[in-house]
Structure formats: structure tokens, C-alpha cells
């Protein structure tokens, strides 16, 4: 398969955007999942709804909201611009859009894992002298590793496939913000672009299958690592 430079650039950008999206959202996803699984507070239902919002809103709406908030004239965007950080129409913005779209999926997977950890194990650790941080890092975190892995895979898949919010927030600039789905879309907009679209589609399938195989292999290793085999 002979890819043009622009097509390679789209693949590389998709991978970069997705990896960063997962990296920046993972700590927050773990924190939010833990709060939803283990804490009771007034307004929890509302908080949960807010977290899940990107899952149910049309992606274009999410993208537009991002543009309103993080655009050059947006509330946060103007403030970030003063610090020299621009997100709109940059690959960093694509990463932010992908992170937000994948966030509810990561939270869901990790929350289920936390809920399946017996709190009595944490109690036992407490009687052995472990404080809150030690309990989390020595007991809870290792036990939810499979859930974290599942969340990462879902978040990564969502990020690779993310289109609506991305194109709304950061447009479709080749080499800048043109990810695989955007590139396929661009090919389909021009006459005779089908060949390119098919090449990128095959590439997308290849990336997806590869990601699933790697995650399956990791999942087996993690399960073995925590005595679940």
C-alpha cells in the first residue's frame, strides 16, 4: 500500500492525538470514577450526568461548545491565549476534543472496576497501617488495572474514530488537524478521491485490529499479574 505523505501525516497525527488524549484524560478519569464509585454527596446524579454528557450530545454540539469555550474569544480560550496556549485549529485542540469525547467511556470502565473491588480489602489494609494514599496505590489501583486497561482501549478507540467534535472545533487542516477520519472525509469531498478513501479505510481497520490485539495481550498479562487467572 503506497501512502502519500499527506496520508502518512494523517495516520501519525491520529496516533499522536489519540495517545495524548488518553494520557491527559486518564488521571481525571480515575479520579472521577473513584468519586462516582466510592463517594456520596448531594448533586452526585447531576455530576454523573455532566460526566456522561459528551456520550449523549451530538458530537458537533460538543465541538461547538469547545469552540465557544476554548476558542480565541472563548472564556477559557482567551485566558489560555494570554499564556501562549492556543487550542482552536491546532492538533492540541484535536487531542482535547478526543479526550473529552472518550472521557465518559473511560470513566465507565474504571468505575465498574472500582465497584468490583471489595472495600473490605481496603479496610484490612487500613488496620495494617496503610493511609488513604497507600491503600489506593497498593490495593485499589493494582486491582482495577484491568478496568483501567479497558478504559484506555475504549478511550483510544474513541479518539482514533472521533470526527464530529474534532472537525467542528479544529477544522480539517492537512498536517495540522487532519486526522484519519477527517482525511477520509476530505477524500470523499473531491472527485476521484475514492482510492485514497479506501486506502485510509484499510489503514484505519489495520490500526483498530492492531489495537484490539495488543489490548487483549495486555489484558491477559495484567490479569495474571493480579492473581485473576
Amino acid at each position: 500500500m503506497n501512502l502519500t505523505d499527506a496520508e502518512w501525516a494523517a495516520l501519525a497525527l491520529s496516533l499522536k492525538v489519540s495517545v495524548w488524549a488518553v494520557i491527559i484524560s486518564l488521571p481525571f478519569a480515575i479520579l472521577v470514577a473513584w468519586i462516582l464509585a466510592r463517594r456520596e454527596f448531594p448533586g452526585k446524579a447531576l455530576f454523573s450526568a455532566l460526566v456522561h454528557l459528551p456520550l449523549v450530545l451530538p458530537p458537533v454540539v460538543t465541538g461547538y461548545l469547545l469552540l465557544l469555550t476554548f476558542g480565541k474569544n472563548g472564556a477559557v480560550g482567551a485566558w489560555l491565549a494570554e499564556l501562549g496556549i492556543v487550542l482552536a485549529f491546532r492538533w492540541t485542540g484535536a487531542a482535547l476534543a478526543a479526550a473529552i469525547m472518550g472521557f465518559p467511556l473511560m470513566v465507565r470502565a474504571i468505575r465498574l472496576a472500582i465497584e468490583s473491588v471489595d472495600p473490605r480489602l481496603e479496610e484490612a489494609a487500613e488496620t495494617l497501617g496503610a493511609g488513604r494514599g497507600a491503600r489506593f496505590f497498593r490495593i485499589t489501583l493494582p486491582l482495577i488495572a484491568p478496568g483501567i486497561l479497558a478504559g484506555v482501549v475504549l478511550g483510544f478507540a474513541k479518539a482514533i474514530g472521533e470526527f464530529g467534535a474534532t472537525i467542528t472545533f479544529v477544522a480539517n487542516i492537512p498536517g495540522q488537524t487532519q486526522t484519519l477520519p477527517s482525511a477520509i472525509y476530505a477524500f470523499l469531498q473531491v472527485p476521484g478521491g475514492e482510492a485514497g478513501a479506501i486506502r485510509l479505510t484499510l489503514l484505519a481497520i489495520f490500526v483498530a485490529v492492531g489495537a484490539v490485539l495488543i489490548s487483549e495481550w495486555l489484558a491477559r498479562r495484567v490479569a495474571k499479574g493480579i492473581g485473576r487467572t
Binding site: 471489595d118 473490605r120 480489602l121 479496610e123 484490612a124 489494609a125 487500613e126 488496620t127 495494617l128 497501617g129 496503610a130 493511609g131 497507600a134 497498593r138 490495593i139 493494582p142 486491582l143 499479574g225 493480579i226 492473581g227 485473576r228
Partner: protein
């Protein structure tokens, strides 16, 4: 006193009000399900915050509702062996038992670890995961884990309750050895009197969230008032005895302060001090020295107390030398015999009913069971 507890707590439909002092020994907390045993130990561990009251260990206040003090469990240094083990499934046995050591004042004491591993027979298990262990092995690991965290007090909440009888017999000698070698006070929760009699120095009987009886285990177990609380089939006194001879026919002679008993199934060596448990329902009384009986086990006794309960039975506390026996006879028999306080009579113990293996064989505090 090591531990002083004075707490009140209420749940829906249940209230707990306990005030007691616990000393430097093995204290058993006995009571039926729902008596508040677990609530009591959870409050001591700090896993439960009582509504009101005060808990102090040695000279440190762990909890005081008036002062707003509630030391978190992680800082109490109170070990806890749970009924269900609660081993960490993702860690090896070795990492499990070392889990608390890094928070112990001296860190990991390798000599102590080696001693515990040998004592609890864990050598072959160290590399294994909890998921591959049997119930008895898990509890031994849980014991080592709690012990190695350097506790000032050790709580055991029915550590044997989830095990079947053979597993209990397997783990009991380990428990006894630990107890004999340890200087750490132990609170042992149980609803099994045989375990209590075998292990405990002191005994607190809980009923419906209140302390019903407390004191030295021997005294409480031979208290006629305890009979309905402990269950009439389970109640019985503990008698210290010394093994004086093993006869070739499999019987052994045991010396008590009030006379000798001949029992089968004693494995302790000659000279060993053991504890005998004699159930109240296995003691018969006779005013005259019995003659031509199949039992050799007759002790001269003096009636100390007669306690008439609600039913047809009478609990009789009997003095035999320095020890006390408890007998349960019918009220009619007591009347016909004309039993009265201070009266001398003879207690007949059915020794053949003692099952093999249930007589404590090791250490000074072992107990024989005579159901």
C-alpha cells in the same frame, strides 16, 4: 488495664452499650449472633465510629466523642484478623504478610518474620497467591500478616468460624503457640465455647448489645448464672490439671486440686499442665460415695451455689479443692437429694465421653473437652 472501652452506638433496631476493661491477656468476647461482638471490635479497630463514648489503649485516647477524637484505623496499630481472611489477591503470601511491616515502628523485622513463618508453617506458601490457598492456610497467612504489622493489640473476629472442623483442628495449635509466645494482648471473638475455653484467660459475655457477664474465664464458665447465656449444652467449668501418668491401656491419670481423674486420649507429656473442660450436663451428683460405678472419675465436692432457672433445671456450682465445677441437674433431683449450700457430696464425671484429640496436648493452657 490495657484497653478501656465505654461506648454507646445505635443502629436501626439495635443498640449497643458496652463498658469494660481489657487486660494484658487473651480476652474472649462470647455471645450469640447479633449480640454486638463485631460492632464492638470494629469500634476498637476504628472501622466503626460509635455515637458516643470513649476508647483508650494504654494511655492513648483512640476515641472520645466529647473531645471529637477519632484516631483513624491506620494510626491505631491494632491488628485485626478477619473471619474471611481478606488477603490481598494480587500479592504473594510473602508480600501479604509484609504488607503492614513498612508501617510498623521498626519496619520489617526479618528475624520475627522468619520465626512467624516457621511457627505458622508458611515456608512452602510464600511464593503463592491467596487464590490458591486452602481456608486454613489463608487464616494462617492472615494471622502472620496482622502479627507482623507490629500491633499493640490484636483483634480476632471469629478467625476459625469459616473453617470446617478438621481445618480448625489444624490451625488451633498454631493459635495456641502464638498466644503462648506473644506479649500482645488478644481479643478473641467467638460463639464457640470450646474455642473460648481453650484459649481465653478472661471472658466477656455479650447479649443484645450489653455486657451480661465478665471476669476470669474459669469464674465465668463456672458461674451458674452463665448457664442460660452460654447454652445449657455448652456450659461447663474449666479445671487446671497436671498429667501424672500414662497407663498402658491408653488411659492417663490427671491430678486436679480436688482429686485425680482417669481420662483417655491425653497426648500431653507427663508433668504438663493442661486445662480440662467439663460440661455441666456431664456431671452427676451423689450424696453418698458411689460404689460399683463404671466411672473412676469421682471427685468430692462442696455445694457453693444453687441457681434455679426458669426451666426444670438447677445449676449447681461445686467446689473441688481449689477449683470449681458446674453441674446441671433437675430441680426434682435437687429436692429429693436435699441439696443445700455447704453440703458435701460426690461429683461423677463420665470420662469415656471425652473424645480423642479434643484434649489439649500442648502448652500450659491447653484444654480438654468433655462433652
Amino acid at each position: 488495664m490495657t484497653l478501656s472501652v465505654d461506648i454507646r452506638h445505635s443502629f436501626e433496631g439495635f443498640s449497643l452499650e458496652i463498658s469494660c476493661q481489657i487486660g494484658q491477656s487473651v480476652t474472649a468476647i462470647f455471645g450469640p449472633s447479633g449480640a454486638g461482638k463485631s460492632t464492638f471490635v470494629n469500634a476498637i479497630a476504628g472501622l466503626l465510629r460509635p455515637d458516643q463514648g470513649r476508647i483508650s489503649l494504654i494511655d492513648e485516647t483512640l476515641f472520645d466523642s466529647a473531645e471529637g477524637v477519632h484516631v483513624p484505623p491506620a494510626q491505631r496499630r491494632i491488628g485485626y484478623v478477619f473471619q474471611d481472611g481478606r488477603l490481598f489477591p494480587h500479592l504473594s503470601v510473602q508480600d501479604n504478610i509484609r504488607f503492614g511491616a513498612r508501617y510498623a515502628p521498626g519496619g520489617l523485622d526479618r528475624a520475627e518474620e522468619a520465626r512467624l513463618v516457621a511457627l505458622l508453617g508458611l515456608e512452602g506458601l510464600l511464593g503463592r497467591r491467596p487464590g490458591t490457598l486452602s481456608g486454613g492456610e489463608k487464616q494462617r497467612v492472615a494471622l502472620a500478616r496482622a502479627w507482623l504489622s507490629g500491633p499493640r493489640l490484636l483483634l480476632m473476629d471469629e478467625p476459625l468460624a469459616a473453617l470446617d472442623e478438621p481445618r480448625k483442628d489444624e490451625i488451633f495449635p498454631y493459635l495456641e503457640r502464638l498466644r503462648d509466645l506473644s506479649e500482645v494482648p488478644i481479643i478473641y471473638v467467638s460463639h464457640n465455647l470450646a474455642e473460648v475455653a481453650r484459649l481465653a484467660d478472661d471472658l466477656i459475655v455479650l447479649q443484645a448489645g450489653r455486657v451480661a457477664l465478665s471476669g476470669r474465664a474459669e469464674d465465668v464458665l463456672s458461674d451458674p448464672r452463665a448457664l442460660p447465656l452460654l447454652g445449657i449444652r455448652e456450659a461447663g467449668a474449666i479445671l487446671p490439671a497436671t498429667v501424672v501418668a500414662h497407663d498402658p491401656d491408653g488411659l492417663s491419670r490427671l491430678r486436679l486440686s480436688g482429686g485425680d481423674l482417669i481420662l483417655p486420649g491425653v497426648t500431653a507429656p507427663i508433668g504438663a499442665r493442661i486445662r480440662l473442660r467439663v460440661l455441666a450436663q456431664d456431671v452427676l451428683l451423689s450424696r453418698n460415695p458411689p460404689d460399683g460405678l463404671s466411672s473412676h472419675n469421682v471427685l468430692p465436692v462442696v455445694v457453693e451455689t444453687l441457681h434455679r432457672g426458669g426451666g426444670p433445671g438447677v445449676a449447681v456450682r461445686l467446689r473441688s479443692g481449689k477449683d470449681v465445677l458446674l453441674a446441671r441437674i433437675t430441680a426434682r433431683a435437687a429436692e429429693e437429694m436435699g441439696l443445700a449450700l455447704g453440703q458435701s457430696c460426690h461429683a461423677i464425671l463420665n470420662a469415656t465421653a471425652v473424645p480423642r484429640g479434643s484434649i489439649g496436648g500442648e502448652g500450659a493452657r491447653s484444654v480438654a473437652d468433655a462433652p
